[in-house]
Symmetry: C3
């Protein structure tokens, strides 16, 4: 083992592994967020809930879900089934992801499009902040908050909290 080249190679391998892991983490979180709309509009209750940790929180204005079974129940509720039975889209914008070790935050906006009397209408626009944790199953959401973008200071503040420590 030559002193001149080998420590350099070891360092380069270490650095590559660390950087690649950060890239894979970011893509995994983007994938989790991208899965939500299609799965919830398909009515896949178990798979939607599985995007969260077992005790993950999904807090939508006026509707608080405190674990996976509450999230499943929302997808299976007459309200949600009625919405997707008429045709609707939980349309998400691009997720802005920041990672810090085993935690991450994704911030994005959302539009709920519904069908009403033969037309497609944007019914709600939302501010979304997702917190994620690295688990044995992969990255899972521990806390997602959605607030209507109706001019409230709360919704706007949510969009500004792009960092894990915010």
């Amino acid at each position: 083992m030559s002193q001149a080249d080998t420590p350099g190679r070891e360092d380069r391998l270490d650095a590559l592994e660390q950087r690649l892991r950060a890239v894979e983490d970011e893509l995994a979180i983007v994938r989790q967020v991208a899965a939500y709309g299609p799965l919830v509009d398909a009515g896949e209750a178990t798979r939607v809930a599985d995007l969260w940790t077992a005790d993950g929180v999904y807090d939508v204005e006026g509707y608080f879900m405190g674990d996976r079974s509450a999230i499943e129940a929302m997808v299976e509720s007459p309200e949600h089934q009625g919405l997707i039975g008429r045709g609707g889209s939980h349309f998400l914008g691009p997720a802005h992801v920041e990672i810090s070790g085993d935690r991450a935050v994704a911030v994005c906006e959302s539009v709920l499009l519904v069908r009403h009397e033969g037309r497609v209408l944007p019914a709600r626009i939302g501010a979304n902040r997702w917190e994620f944790a690295r688990t044995d199953e992969g990255w899972r959401c521990t806390h997602r908050v959605v607030r209507a973008l109706d001019g409230s200071a709360e919704a706007r503040a949510l969009l500004a909290r792009t960092r894990v420590e915010d």
Copy 2:
């Protein structure tokens, strides 16, 4: 070559190359999906068709295109030219990508926004499932199916088929 360190390095290089290729594949597919809206709304018929393989299928409810020339013809059709001549947007949501070797699937939702009498209207919402293959030209779509999110079981089932083997 020391037995202690070198096989480890070889394995690490192999693993890095394999993982990086998976990341590059995912980004390449995301890029192909992200190219569709801008290119079809620009009217770039040849470049739209080139997102597919030569015999790639584009199956939109009521409109079946079985190869690149059929896709080009759609972009150049009076219907599409009229739509983009008045101003319209084929707006896609974030693509959820899964890769298995030389094949991949991307699932996303879409909204068609059109201009009508000075206003912008969401005219259609859709469920999209893209199948991709790795080719000598890069990743190309072999089969894209779009179905209106109008409450039909077919459209919802499409959104749930996120895996290559589905």
Copy 3:
């Protein structure tokens, strides 16, 4: 050091570093674009402006901003504050990114959703072309052009200019 294996390893490390840097660059640009909507709808004037270089240009039809302070002033303007005070969303589609050395281009579409008399309305659809440069602070936008997708040849041409040299 054996001639047979060692140059191969050096080359593989070089190639990995170069490919990983391209991936990191692409994700960094995607992240900058994904940050815009949430930050501008939050009213975070300084952070919005910081997505650009100090003398970066933001050219929206009828509104030309020639540096960071002009962009900050737009976010703080009564017009923008009124829009986000009633509730609005600058909703961006997925960015198509191409990189060439220290420059990059991202093309995407956008929808401005506004609240009006209790309803959410898509007020504008836009063609977006962002130019980026690698700077000491990271990737920053040097020039963003937005044109209404109203059927104009200019807006459509913008969407087709996906390459750095275009």
